[in-house]
């Protein structure tokens, strides 16, 4: 090859790369929503004299240009593969993979965050729970089982548990750590698998002096389940399967969405096709949900202050109660939420994952 030919090849190559990118940026239809990030993508900003003078247009256009870039997820995958396999980085944007499990690195231990969560729970106790039986249980995040072996940074969850127990002397602690292992979690999602946590539910119920009926069978949804970490990892990994537990008692449970004032299914098969299939359990992130058990042989009621993990365990706990109320104070003002519930002589369980407690800024 002559030097001249080489120069022509380089020039053609550069022009092709930049011009094809330019044309694709201009003419390829734009996505408006990113499934991988679960957010709206920045739209093309409107141009005006004031937006140009203030620089608002330019700032927005920078975001738009990146968000609307053609084959964005493919490029994210290229970056992920390059980071993991060529640069040998353990995490990419704090997401790591070990033994086929994807997790988000949660480090360091944020004591102030844990104290904040405990202070909010203390507020609830002081104002509303003096005449209730109060329990605390903490759900280990996947990192508890995965991080050490994966060689990524992690904090000692025992410190977190100890601090929470010390900050909530009014609550009886129920330890569910021994009932769980990494196999009890989805590979591509942050949550636990309902069909794997029957023993956890038994321990929780036992800790509150309640016996569950059991006799459940697992039913598989036929669709593959790509959890919240799947797209974040931007790697080609195997999908999970998602199952739910049912029994004669669970089938009769009646769930009600207090946030939107409507009945909801305990397991919503339609949601398995949605962006967050885990929402199939009690319709996902709702601030106030009640589950009534018509077969209950008791008048006892349970109120759970919770995060998303509770959606899967609540139907199991409902076997032992007449009514279970789930309150998510990340989405609702505490006083407003508490004004709608009678706590007197009820069991109240604070059930939160280590991940939420270590990043508690969303708790209101």
């Amino acid at each position: 090859m002559k030097k001249k030919t080489f120069n022509i090849i380089i020039c053609t190559l550069a022009c092709t790369l930049v011009l094809s990118g330019f044309l694709l940026c201009l003419f390829l239809p734009k996505e408006t929503y990113s499934d991988s990030e679960r957010r709206e993508l920045t739209p093309l900003p409107e141009i005006s004299v004031s937006s140009l003078i203030t620089g608002r247009f330019m700032d927005s256009f920078e975001n738009y240009a990146v968000d609307a870039f053609p084959f964005r997820d493919t490029f994210r995958s290229i970056k992920a593969y390059f980071s993991y396999y060529l640069l040998r980085q353990k995490d990419n944007n704090k997401i790591y993979v070990h033994d086929g499990y994807i997790a988000s690195m949660d480090y360091p231990y944020d004591k102030s965050s844990v104290n904040y969560a405990a202070s909010r729970f203390g507020y609830i106790y002081d104002r509303y729970l003096k005449e209730s039986n109060v329990y605390l249980s903490i759900i280990p995040d996947k990192n508890v089982f995965l991080a050490k072996d994966a060689g990524v940074l992690y904090f000692d969850s025992e410190d977190l548990v100890k601090d929470m127990k010390n900050s909530m002397p009014y609550a009886e602690y129920i330890d569910i750590f021994p009932t769980l292992s990494i196999e009890d979690y989805y590979k591509t999602d942050s949550h636990w698998r309902q069909e794997k946590i029957e023993d956890t539910a038994e321990v929780l119920a036992g800790g509150m002096g309640v016996k569950l009926k059991g006799n459940r069978t697992a039913v598989n949804f036929s669709l593959p389940f790509y959890g919240v970490y799947y797209d974040q990892a931007a790697l080609k990994l195997d999908a999970d399967t998602i199952s739910y537990l049912t029994s004669p008692t669970i089938e009769k449970l009646k769930a009600f969405d207090g946030q939107n004032n409507k009945s909801i299914p305990v397991y919503d098969a339609e949601r398995i096709k949605g962006k967050d299939p885990y929402e199939t359990f009690l319709s996902g992130p709702l601030s106030l949900v009640t589950v009534e058990n018509p077969d209950a042989e008791t008048e006892r009621e349970l109120i759970i202050f919770r995060d998303s993990f509770s959606s899967a365990v609540a139907p199991l706990l409902a076997e032992g109660y007449k009514k279970v109320t789930l309150m998510d104070i990340r989405y609702m003002n505490v006083d407003y939420a508490c004004s709608m519930v009678d706590f007197k002589n009820k069991d109240v369980l604070f059930l939160y994952s280590t991940a939420i407690l270590n990043n508690s800024e969303t708790i209101k």
Binding site: L13, G21, G55, A65, I78, K79
Partner: protein
Amino acid sequence: MLFSSIPFIYYFLPSVFLIYFLVPRKFKNLTLLVSSLIFYAWGEPKLTAVMLISIATGYVSGLILEKHRNTKKGRLILCLSLLIPVAFLLYFKYADFFITTFNSVTGLSLPLLRVVLPIGISFYTFQILSYQVDVYHGTEAQKNPIDLACYITLFPQLIAGPIVRYTDIERELKTRTHSTEKFASGVVKFTVGLGKKILLANTIGSFCAAFNGATDKSVVFAWVNAAAVALQIYFDFSGYSDMAIGLGRMLGFDFLENFNYPFISKSATEFWRRWHISLGSWFRDYVYIPLGGNRVSPVRHIFNIFAVWFLTGFWHGAGWNFIIWGVFYAVILIAEKLLYGEFLKKHRIFSHIYVIFITLISFTIFNRENLGDILDYFRLMFAADSTPFITAETVYYLKNYAVIIFLAVIGSTPFMKKLADKLPEKARYILTPLFVIGVFVLSTAYLVDGSFNPFLYFRF
């Protein structure tokens, strides 16, 4: 607008190049001027006026100076005409620094002006100053305001250098050649710079960010971070310079190299001949030599070195850390001249270790905000306050960034260039296009995956 951004690479660049190569030769400079103003206004819509006033001053003063060169009147006009761009620089860049210093000395509390720093003001001001001085000393003034404005605003070098002298591209402003050879060479140079900035500097920047956010710092972490900071600044700035030089070549200009593997130097003096060459030569020609250079008494010579390095430090930023950094180098360079320069020449291995040590210390000063920060960092590096030698967090980040730091270290030496030069021509012809594709695709992937991506040198 940043070179390492999607809007620049995939919107601005193709649009400008299409128009530039389609318009007749007589409109090419005008095309470049308009493009450069859009490029600048993208980041500084309001403060573009400051740059235009400075350019107008340079243009008018150039025409007047040409008629009065080497006269008393000419000298007065030169001083007055230098005042306007210098006044802008002092006001926009240093006003709050002076007020803060005044307040801390007098105990007063004068309010800060909080003026926004126009991007690239240090670079274009120096270009205008050198143009005015050169015209006073005999360079022909540019009669065409579009050509002069085109030189000063030329987008490849506008906001982060290299500081291109008017005399270096005077001829190219009028008659420059475009060829596939020059364009191809520019493409490769630009690609190298893009890779340096996005793949190396930014990734090493993540390591530095991890250090800053670390809860368990250690002696090892502090030293490796000091090295990472030096590498990050090197790849960030030399990457930008390479992109500027590459773009210049594509447009028919030949900018001088700005970096020449500074980390292989055997003395701090040599380091500064290899680092930010255009700035070093600017201070040499417009400050050091006019002050008398080394053809003066020893005491005056030392004063000249201090003056140049005080100004070099201050040019980099309105902060005491930059002044300390400049004075630190003045002390080192004087010590090399008077005390141990000859010793360094005779002991190659020691001199390399010495340069690396000096560089790590100097960039630690450079990278910290104030004296307290600098001292805190040194306490960490030298294990004061019973800092642990190494922690689990240190080990994690070292492992996580080991490959990229290794690549960066190799990339900061001429090893890869020598390797490429040794390759058979045929292999180079095959590997170069693959390199261009690889860096473009990976850089795009990093840009798409990442968020805001500022160049470090914008603040200077």
